[in-house]
Subunit: 382 residues, 4 copies
């Protein structure tokens, strides 16, 4: 089968690799029809992780079931399914409490937790930027879609990662109807956090970024765009909230937050949230932070440390939730919203490409070229 | 009336000051019979805050009502009451959601929130280490006690601060029956967090400290004491939890965490919790951290920053709650436990002194002299 | 001052009565500019309660502060305020946990709980269908509005009761984004429950009634209207949910539920919800049920009993919440939605009348005359 | 293998039946060493259900794994396991939200939900009062125990049903530290609800029954026994709570509630709870109620209806949760409490019998003979 293969820093190719196949009785085999490039693929693409050359990327996947193992009870051949990026067993201590983001079975390293398709340090699972994908524990991991999914793949594929991830940020932050919300980052995940806030009935959603195309999308869904290249976002958020600060904050950038000159400041967005979220407010952090970053010039960041305004955070009595999203906690409810026509997360998609053009898509998306907000690949397409 | 007056770093005296009195129709006047010295009094006593000389300490107060204002409906003269350390109005946006720790009315600075008796930067309210105390918004702030309170003052007075504060740590951490809990610090608040965990049915409670007298108290209430002067507490906690880490963690030390040589490391206990609490675990932080600490030799700490192992924290998907305790959220329930004989938080008390001996009490408690775990003052006593 | 006075079954008049005034230091005096007739006024208007003749109706009130007592700290003369229908002290065991619907101080009968303006058995408080209203514990009970409230009174006045009450139904039912919701009753409260579901991002909201004007309003806000005079609502809801039943149900009718012939069946809507809500689903009941109804021909209803399909309810593992709404739990958040232009609950208003025309308004609204969905009175208007 | 076989009303025998075996790749086969007779077995034993003659009872099971299917990943041969009474798939809409009590896959009837071993209308699964038990979806359903379980089987077997079921009642009721709790019924489930309340730190636990042996057990674990044959339980509970009523109530009897003369009153315990639980209080109902009971002399009960004091329930703003327990939601946490020595639910066990003596056990337990509080069978024992 054809697949996107990692060749080394900033280099991918589309190659023939061995077909994915049923390996365990509980596996499901899916013919991938839509698969996205994610911002976290870029961390690996840039060579900042220990992702192995020769492996296949792709953890935002949707397609049609073409085979099921003998231990599969629910999923049937021919069904359209969307796969959560987390690979999860459904029965370990974490999965059974809803923490499929920290599955203890799918992750082979006993000191770690959590697994994903085509992801550094998250188990041996191949990615879905390919023609076929093996889905372990298929009954648990496949989200069944209706037949309308064949026509609306760019909406439904967002259930695999960024829509639930953005939603998770708002859940950890505690967004409720009427709340004011500050969102750091208008990349695909930040836009999904903004969109989730709107869907939940937030009163005012403020989105901070410096890319005009992304801020325009934020405005299009009813949010207030704040360009941090031209104004101080903390002051603006305080102004917009009678000096009190936002009720809730979402971090959707991660440790690669940087100034307009490109210098990374891993503490930048977190500390801006500490200062712009009100006393008693909640903060949800879905931007990626990593336990160590040996290549960083910053001595704290080398060890995965962040110089957090912790005194202020404590003084204000804020709460903070963090980590990857447990996609299954939200994907049914969000699917029902998409099916009812009440959510159309495909508004972030800027490009749909056949699989063969993946290298081109990676290159533009990695450079944050204007207008390249979200790239969707279609393995079967011409 | 007689009161404990702050004279400057490490100096208090007992002096005559003007009587506390009813100032607003909603005030209640209390004759204080029991009032504790708190660990947070020591921050002020040591001169590390801008607490004004001439002011009176004391935010852990209990006594008898001797007068009520004309706008008071519930509280009656002659009732025994315990006062939450927070001064709170009951009707601002924060109070009405249960965040009496961040009252917007009682705190005069519009950029801040929260007030307390006899506390730096927390409003103009005099402390209760005195014969009389004015209680603003008396109907809201007074917790009524039964007549048995006259005989069990050292139990009931703990409802003013440290029992709810320790309990709050366990609530923010999410402690449930069966959980394993790691607690940093076996001072009075840490012991109350441990005790609260036990009362809630935790499966295993591990308490880290290096004072033998405090660890002995932890053991007495059924916890596992861990002496961090003689063993690595992170390794021990991992060993006790099959390598997975504790389900929950409570920080009960604060920014003055220090090594056995006395050097402060504000990040010490937080980072130990990040490493010893499991993936998906919750952490509650009630130890005090401050927005700035100009006198500190550490450049980060000067600005109130902490070099947190944030990458690891995020990677493990932990949650963190922080800040002072909203005492009223818990004090009724805990009072009912004390009244039913199911909780006796006075086990932490080492010394009961008349008010005149307050200077002596401060001196010993500040030095953490062996056996001086908790000092209770009785203003009326001989 | 002029006020709407109850004269006996189905009879009210507008008369001069003694002016409302400040009675306690914590009182606030409000000049009422907008006050609604509520469906629960009709219970009293019809003579089915022991509401005393000579008393004034009106518990949905909005106006301008014209005087404050000496113990009032927050509310200022000249501010526009909306009053929750519940009169609540803010400091009893129930109020401090957020149950202002069951205040123990405002209700004089020690065996009961909860108070309201102009309401049978809910304390001595006069209603606001008058030129002036005394608001006890004014700092706690007044919700401050912005200056825009002067121009948008019909939106903001809904914060006094029906908007929070409808929202409360959805909270007790557990409505979340994506859920399917069945709502019994499209009166003003049912429409607000439907509207709240929409604002929260429900996937499908089904509203059952038999009045065309009300069903049309439900459809206008994006809901599916179901006319139970022409189809079986239980079957229709099951059809709309793949046979599984709705995720959540809201009861917004109460014990006066009746068939098209007008015969009351207090169990009708509850049992329809039990049958049309799915296994594990939640039901919120804000329609009024009463502990005894001596005038009823039904022997069970005489004693306030309902022949509930409890076996089915238990078998399906449903949860049920019930009772009046604690308005203060929601009115700030909902105010912020109105202020942000994201909620316009005035869509239910059919008639705005000067106070003098109240008798006319009561007559039409009580008969459910077509087009009389919600009547708003303006005491100051010509 | 030998198994307890239902022969008809009040008749069971121990017979040879075909061996249980692995049927699906996800199955686990368990050699049962301990299996209890449950109160709900008695409903079937008495012939009040459509349980088929020739089938095997037993849904409270513990034993050793002797074989696993090829799709099983976690469970290993030789491990001691305890099985939740619910048979659940782990991946349907209900299971994945934690409602394993309403599994949509294990229940073959598409209009129903939920399955269990050896239970009327809950799927085709054989019971565990036998030498062998087939466990579907073994990785999901088996709770692994430590080696200490071999010596403490009567404690650990309670994790299969009655300990989690009693705990579930307290969760639905909302029991928190300090609360007063009223419990109707001191059968095994009622005693477990009482024990769970104690473990959670309730302030006062009142248990209503009329069997001296059961009330004595309630008292032994620190509860207040109330004999409803000799005093009015509603009045006593009000007296014990200053007239306000209990904070929480647990129904642990079900539709077979009866007076001392043996006449059934399905509304009896529910209405007593409505009257003895306070305004705003929560009620959890785990006693069994059924959708229809054709053999009942009562016309309401025939249709599964209960004449509930709904008017009073609504007036008091109580909440009510109902239904079977989702055992997996609690069994890990409770296992950890047992393992830590902090819970010993075996205190309810009155008799341990070899499997062959099952008929004798059923007879005595069904008659509620004095001292027969809970019967445990050991299939392998002599």
């Amino acid at each position: 089968m054809k697949a996107v293969v990692y060749e080394g820093p900033r280099s991918v190719s589309v190659k023939n690799v061995p077909d994915a196949r049923i390996e365990r009785p509980t596996d499901v085999l899916v013919r991938i029809t839509t698969t996205n490039i994610c911002g976290s693929d870029l961390h690996m693409y840039e060579g900042r992780t220990d992702f192995e050359t020769g492996r296949t990327f792709g953890h935002e996947n949707l397609g049609e079931v073409i085979e099921v193992g003998q231990g599969v009870d629910k999923i049937k051949v021919g069904e359209m399914v969307c796969l959560p990026f987390n690979v999860a067993c459904g029965f370990c201590k974490n999965c059974e409490r809803g923490y499929t983001n920290y599955c203890l079975t799918a992750q082979p390293d006993p000191h770690l937790a959590g697994a994903a398709y085509g992801f550094a340090d998250m188990g041996p699972y191949q990615g879905g930027q390919a023609e076929l994908l093996r889905v372990p524990w298929g009954d648990f991991n496949c989200l069944r879609l209706g037949e309308d999914a064949r026509e609306r793949q760019t909406d439904y594929v967002m259930l695999s990662d960024i829509f639930p991830t953005g939603y998770h940020a708002t859940e950890m932050a505690g967004v409720r109807p009427g709340d004011s919300v500050a969102i750091m980052g208008a990349g695909p995940v930040g836009l999904m956090a903004a969109y989730s806030s709107v869907l939940k009935g937030a009163g005012k959603v403020m989105v901070v970024d410096r890319h005009a195309d992304r801020l325009a999308l934020a405005e299009r869904i009813g949010c207030l765009p704040i360009n941090d290249a031209t104004e101080n976002p903390v002051e603006r958020i305080l102004d917009e909230t009678m000096g009190l600060g936002a009720d809730r904050g979402c971090e959707c950038v991660g440790y690669q937050a940087h100034d307009p000159q490109g210098n990374e400041h891993p503490d930048d967005t977190l500390n801006k949230l500490v200062r712009s979220v009100r006393f008693t407010g909640g903060i949800g952090v879905v931007g990626v932070f990593i336990p160590q970053d040996p290549g960083s010039p910053d001595p704290l960041e080398k060890q995965g440390k962040v110089a957090l305004d912790y005194g202020m955070h404590w003084f204000k009595g804020q709460t903070m939730g963090s980590g990857q999203c447990p996609v299954k906690r939200y994907n049914r409810q969000l699917r029902d919203l998409v099916a009812a026509g009440k959510a159309k997360p495909s508004f972030v998609v800027s490009h749909e490409l056949p699989l063969d053009e993946a290298p081109n898509g990676y290159e533009h998306f990695d450079r944050r070229d204007n207008g390249w907000t979200k790239v969707v690949l279609h393995p079967g397409a011409a």
